[in-house]
Point group: C2
Chain length 193, copies 2
DNA sequence: CGTCTATTTGAATGTACTCAAAAGCGGTGG
DNA sequence: CCACCGCTTTTGAGTACATTCAAATAGACG
């Protein structure tokens, strides 16, 4: 019996859960501890779980043909992280997920989740809203990428994720907004002046 | 009674619909004809409907502070288009949707859709899968934008949307992949040689 | 044929990248 | 406590990628 209170609280911001639904969720969710640099998902493997972050910090990224890393997502407290595409299509993932800080996550497999959907429509609603929000977030990011300069993207990043500024190495932020670390360093210097 | 067969066929690629569900859908969906350049959604308005394209071609785009247009999405036959963020939060949209070609769309309001969800869980499943797929598509696009050159993005666009190549003006494709039309023209020339 | 819009071209400029090297910054062990 | 190691960040010079602006060309449509 793991302590899933943070997850329940997070869900209840969107939709209330009755006692039975909470118990069902508690039965399905398992806790997993991850060390710094440890993989939660490795390229080529099939993503089998949704992961809810209790504490720590993870990232999901792609490694391109030249060995360059491109960060698609960070996840910290109360964030979800998974390769949705791999999970739902049972296909090998092109992404890696690993820990920038030691972390604890709650894992729920797709099969367990489908079981929850069937018995408790509230989960249905919650995960739809979750996916919709994630989709809207990605839309904004696409727009930023096609319509702004690197400096603007950096400022928008700080605005959107102020808590990550002094928590995530510059090189990771650079990768997230799509510039080289050298150039982001120069952007910072310009902003100082 | 509008002919919603294309929509039903599209849904049934994901999940079968019984007679009653089909009738319910048919009752809720209304057809709308749009002329070239006509708005389906205008910046500042709240997006009230999901739109399924029966024929023609639409685009959703943002106008930035300098008057530049940035295309977020094209939609042709059997595609959906809507500002999900505006729709679900009842907030004014920052986007415009208009027609690049005269089009016919089926519209379903959020309220009607919620009614369908409650009575027919199949719609629930369908729209979850739809949103998940859209999300995965946006993820790919973000990755492309942060990890490839304009030429690569153009080639990937042609690969993914071969039917749009000689259907959508170059200037629109340029806007979609995030380059100026002049530069895309030069990219094309280089690819010829 | 003329008009309107879309596309192409070229020159000059700006934005961001590459590569190499130096500087900073924890940690760890002596 | 200091010295050293590994890793991150900064700097600078040179280069590549992409934009801007202005003008010419090409297509589409009445």
């Amino acid at each position: 019996m793991t302590d899933i209170q943070p997850l329940i609280q997070h869900i209840e911001k969107i939709i209330p859960l009755d006692e039975e639904a909470q118990r069902a969720l508690s039965d399905k969710a398992t806790i997993k501890k991850i060390r710094r640099r440890q993989y939660l998902l490795q390229e080529g493997d099939i993503c089998r779980h949704y992961n809810f972050v209790l504490n720590g910090c993870l990232r999901m990224y792609l490694v391109d043909g030249k060995g360059g890393e491109h960060v698609l997502q960070f996840a910290t407290e109360n964030g979800w992280i998974a390769d949705i595409g791999s999970l739902h299509l049972d296909q090998p993932s092109r992404f890696n997920i690993d820990a920038l800080e030691p972390a604890e996550v709650l894992r729920i497999s797709k099969e367990e989740l489908i079981g929850l959907y069937v018995k408790h429509p509230a989960f249905d609603r919650y995960f739809r809203v979750l996916t919709e929000n994630a989709f809207v977030g990605m839309q904004h990011r696409v727009l930023q990428n096609i319509s702004t300069t690197a400096e603007e993207r950096y400022l928008l990043f700080l605005e959107k994720y102020p808590h990550l500024f002094n928590r995530i190495p510059l090189v990771q932020i650079a990768s997230f907004i799509g510039v080289t670390p050298e150039f982001l360093s120069k952007i910072r210097r310009n902003l100082m002046a």
